[in-house]
């Protein structure tokens, strides 16, 4: 059942283009059935998991490498699974209508369904390798979806940026996970969760932590890697709502929460997560009120939420964990609703900027209601679920002992700006003066209102009846993160206390900022230096450098001159050989000239002289003749040193070679001196160096025998096994027959090639003859 649930999405994805072509936009309702079914199935586990149970599924994949498809269903994966399938249901329906009639709607559903399945796999996997594979699959599907409008350059660039940042972090993550598995002794999360002492006291704890955090920070858009997320808004709105707000970007948060029992609780963990989270939270909320695009305000407020979650996981107290799960749920609900509503506004009016829209409440009353409800939850107003999350968050930062003051201040500041952002989102398009729009707006059809309606209403319902969320999944999720039971009592009213005061301050100041938003925004936008913060400049510089380096490298290595390719290869070989010879075998090899007979010496000198003449002569005939002399000299050597067969073959081949060269060479021009003197000197030096290395190598090889020769076997078995007295022939036609067959094949191929080239020429002439 578990396997089916995870992989059904991939199967349906494969069918998506075909189904979409048949059914058009209505297909969204059909595709929504899958996440809905998964949601219902997962919901069936709620009673058991709320009671503290967890479920473990094991399917062997590559058992030899300890890689299995194992799945773990506990409070944390249940919470994420429900969010992915629940919000996924509405996104499918929404996308069916939103992209109705789009040329590539089928392709869109393919990627979206594949993403959903990957994301489910990611949060349900218990094996680290499987988890990582799903992790990367979400990056790739996200890349496809951001670049969905691939004809737009900005889309392509943003997709690439998202991919490089997340996959780059993924590399670090993989290293971290593998090291973690080595230290912890298992690839299974269920086993690692209990081994926190072993891991945290190990010398590799810090590298493991930092590598994994690099992966999660890039995925969850933490400062300084946050820049890719707002750019990812180039994707169609359903993607922004689903991937880049409710689910995928929370994968990093998920993994940090998941590994909290193993890696969390140390000072490093608290400080790194606390500081980076708080910085991200502050940056996100500041950038949210500095932007004015419908989607960019929402995107930056998502960055804020991701920062808040990271910070809360860093603080790690029971209250902080309670706050994290509550905030996570609240954010997914209102942000999904808000993105879909923003998409509706753009769809209906044709505008993408808050400055261009206003007073739409009369034409779009239902959208106004849902958008407003969701915005109230974002602002954290009583009695919405967002309020509970915000109260808990303030409570948690107030009790944080390390770096507590700093993050409390940052939390208050971003609380203020979040209220302002919520007001921008919830009031600006609907109230005030009616601004002229490109199209005449009205409320969109049911498919586009269902998602925002349900999600926004849930934000209100859970606010009024918080025990529903608490008893079903949040307690169990908090238990999974903390590794021990967490007292989780969600209620709207905590009495008059400091968090309430902070809420009140943020509400008042936030609304004031909204009142003066145009001035504030322009003031902020005038501070250009803010644009230069963050790592986007670094990213751009790396990308430019990559192009420059590859251009340079291509120019140098792929220069189009065969001789430089040879030169590079030879010099590399020379360096490697010389280095090995000098470092490994410092003893000079013995040189032994004894036992040389006169005829041997004469032939050796003949070969050398002939080769030197072949190199230096300007006469083509001279070159051919001396090459022949080299060849026959070598043949004589073979004959004199007990290789009659080789000698005979060499004589035959040498004769053929000379004939061939004479036939062809004289149809070609005479030798020219094409290169300068200095170049020739350089080549001569390289050639002599390389020749010297080969001499040295050979002298050493003669003395060294690493392994017993297999020749003995051939000598012994030649006659008894193969009934041949000529051992060389037996090797060729019996022991190594397949090699000889290959050789025949090569010769046949060469013959066909030669024939074809001569034949082709004849045909060319015939064509040339015709007028």
């Amino acid at each position: 059942m578990m396997l089916t649930a995870v992989f059904a999405g991939f199967v349906l994805a494969a069918l998506a283009p075909w189904l979409t072509a048949r059914l058009g936009g209505r297909v969204g309702w059909l595709f929504a059935l899958l996440p809905a079914a998964i949601f219902v199935w997962l919901a069936g586990y709620i009673p058991a998991i709320a009671a503290g149970e967890s479920f473990y599924y094991h399917y062997p994949w590559i058992p030899g490498l300890d890689i299995n498809l194992t799945f773990l269903l506990d409070g944390l994966s249940l919470l994420f699974g429900l969010l992915i399938s629940g919000i996924g249901t509405f996104i499918m329906i929404y996308a069916g209508k939103y992209l109705d009639g789009h040329q590539y709607q089928g392709r869109f559903f393919l990627f979206l369904l594949a993403f959903m399945a990957s994301m489910l796999g990611l949060v349900l996997s218990s094996n680290l390798i499987a988890l990582f594979v799903f992790w990367e699959l979400t990056s790739i599907t996200s890349y496809m979806l951001i670049g969905f409008n691939h004809e737009d350059e900005k889309s392509r660039k943003s997709a690439q940026q998202g991919l490089y940042v997340t996959v780059g972090g993924g590399l670090a993550l993989m290293t971290g996970l593998v090291t973690l598995a080595m230290v912890g002794g298992s690839y299974e999360l269920v086993e690692l969760l209990g081994s926190s002492e072993v891991v945290q006291e190990h010398a590799l704890y810090l590298p493991i932590l930092l590598l994994i955090l690099l992966g999660t920070f890039t995925k969850s858009a933490q400062v300084p890697f946050h820049f890719w997320l707002p750019n990812a808004m180039a994707a169609p709105t359903p993607v922004s709502a689903y991937l880049h707000s409710a689910t995928m970007v929370k994968a990093g948060v998920y993994l940090m929460a998941r590994l909290h029992p193993t890696l969390g609780g140390t000072d490093t963990w608290m400080i790194v997560l606390g500081l980076f989270g708080a910085a991200t939270m502050f940056t996100g909320s500041l950038m949210a009120i500095r932007s004015s695009g419908l989607k960019s305000v929402l995107a930056y407020s998502t960055v804020m939420a991701l920062g808040t979650l990271t910070m809360l996981l860093g603080v790690g107290t029971p209250t902080a964990i309670a706050a994290a799960v509550t905030f996570l749920l609240a954010h997914s609900l209102y942000k999904g609703a808000l993105f879909m509503t923003a998409g509706n506004i753009t769809h209906e009016t044709g505008h993408k900027d808050f400055r261009d829209v206003g007073g739409l409440r009369r034409e779009m009353p239902v959208s106004t209601l849902f958008g407003g409800l969701a915005a109230l939850s974002l602002a954290g107003i009583l009695p919405f679920f967002g309020f509970i999350g915000k109260e808990l968050m303030f409570e948690a930062v107030l009790e944080a002992n390390t770096i507590g003051t700093l993050i409390t201040l940052l939390a208050l500041a971003s609380g203020i700006m979040t209220v302002a952002a919520a007001a921008i989102v919830g009031l600006r398009p609907w109230f005030g003066v009616r601004k002229p729009t490109k199209h005449t707006p009205h409320d969109p059809p049911l498919a586009q209102l269902l998602g925002p309606g349900v999600l926004a209403s849930l934000g209100l319902l859970l606010g009024l009846l918080p025990f529903i969320a608490e008893r079903s999944v949040l307690s169990a999720a908090a238990l999974a993160i903390a590794g021990e039971p967490v007292e989780l009592k969600l209620s709207l009213w905590h009495g008059f206390n400091l968090p309430l005061l902070m809420s009140a301050i943020s509400l008042l100041v936030g609304l004031t900022i909204y009142w003066k938003w145009d001035t504030v925004r322009e003031l902020l936008q005038a501070r250009r230096f803010i644009d230069t913060l963050g790592a986007e400049r670094g990213y751009d510089a790396i990308m430019r450098a990559l192009v420059v380096v590859s251009e340079w490298q291509t120019r140098v290595l792929q220069n189009g001159h065969l001789r430089y390719y040879i030169l590079t290869t030879v010099m590399t070989l020379f360096a490697l050989l010389a280095y090995t010879i000098l470092t490994r075998y410092p003893v000079w090899p013995g040189v032994d000239f004894s036992g040389i007979e006169l005829q041997h010496l004469v032939i050796a000198v003949l070969i050398v002289l002939a080769a030197l003449v072949a190199v230096s002569t300007h006469s083509r005939l001279g070159a051919v003749a001396t090459l022949g002399a080299v060849g026959f000299g070598v043949a004589l050597m073979y004959v004199m040193f007990s290789a009659p067969d080789v000698g005979i073959t060499q004589v035959l081949v040498e004769t053929l070679t000379v004939i061939l060269l004479v036939l062809v060479l004289f149809r070609l021009p005479g030798f020219l001196d094409l290169t300068e003197h200095s170049t020739r000197l350089r080549d001569a030096i390289v050639a002599v160096l390389m020749g010297g290395v080969f001499t040295l190598l050979l002298l050493m090889a003669i003395d060294v025998q690493f392994f017993p020769s297999i020749s003995e076997y051939f000598i012994e078995h030649s006659y008894p096994s193969a009934h041949g007295r000529n051992i060389v022939n037996v090797i060729l036609v019996d022991f190594r027959t397949l090699d000889t067959l290959g050789e025949i094949f090569v010769l046949a191929l060469a013959a066909v090639g030669v024939y074809a080239m001569i034949k082709l020429r004849a045909e060319d002439r015939k064509e040339g003859d015709r007028p």
């Binding site: 070598v634 053929l656 030798f671 050639a687 050979l698 051939f714 000598i715 051992i727």
Partner: protein, 115 residues
């Protein structure tokens, strides 16, 4: 004897490489011929040079008597000689054909498609 051959092999390699570094395509082919001779001799020498003891099993015996030359290197070289001849024949005809088409022996003038 092996020491002498090592020097011969080194010189053959040097001449082969020098020719392969020329711009003229014919000289490249000459370099290739020298290179295959050098490589074959290298293998031959590395296997040890045994005079007057070819790897043959005499009539009426199951194994050769006493030390014989290494048959394995000889088998390898036999294969190598034949294959390098095939390659050479192909290369020579190809060069001839290329010259007919582009009327050029200088490889710097033949590299336009290699960008």
């Amino acid at each position: 004897m092996e020491s002498l051959m090592a020097i011969v092999v080194g010189i053959l390699y040097a001449t082969a490489l020098y020719m392969m570094l020329r711009r003229s395509i014919i000289k490249l082919v000459i370099g290739l011929i020298l290179l295959s001779n050098a490589a074959n001799l290298l293998i031959f020498t590395a296997g040890g040079m045994t005079p007057a003891a070819p790897p043959l099993v005499p009539e009426g015996m199951l194994q050769p008597e006493g030390l014989v030359a290494d048959p394995l290197t000889q088998a390898l070289i036999l294969t190598a000689i034949v294959i390098s001849f095939g390659v050479l024949a192909f290369a020579v005809v190809l060069i001839h054909r290329a010259y007919e088409v582009v009327k050029q022996d200088d490889m710097d003038m033949m590299k336009d498609t290699d960008r």
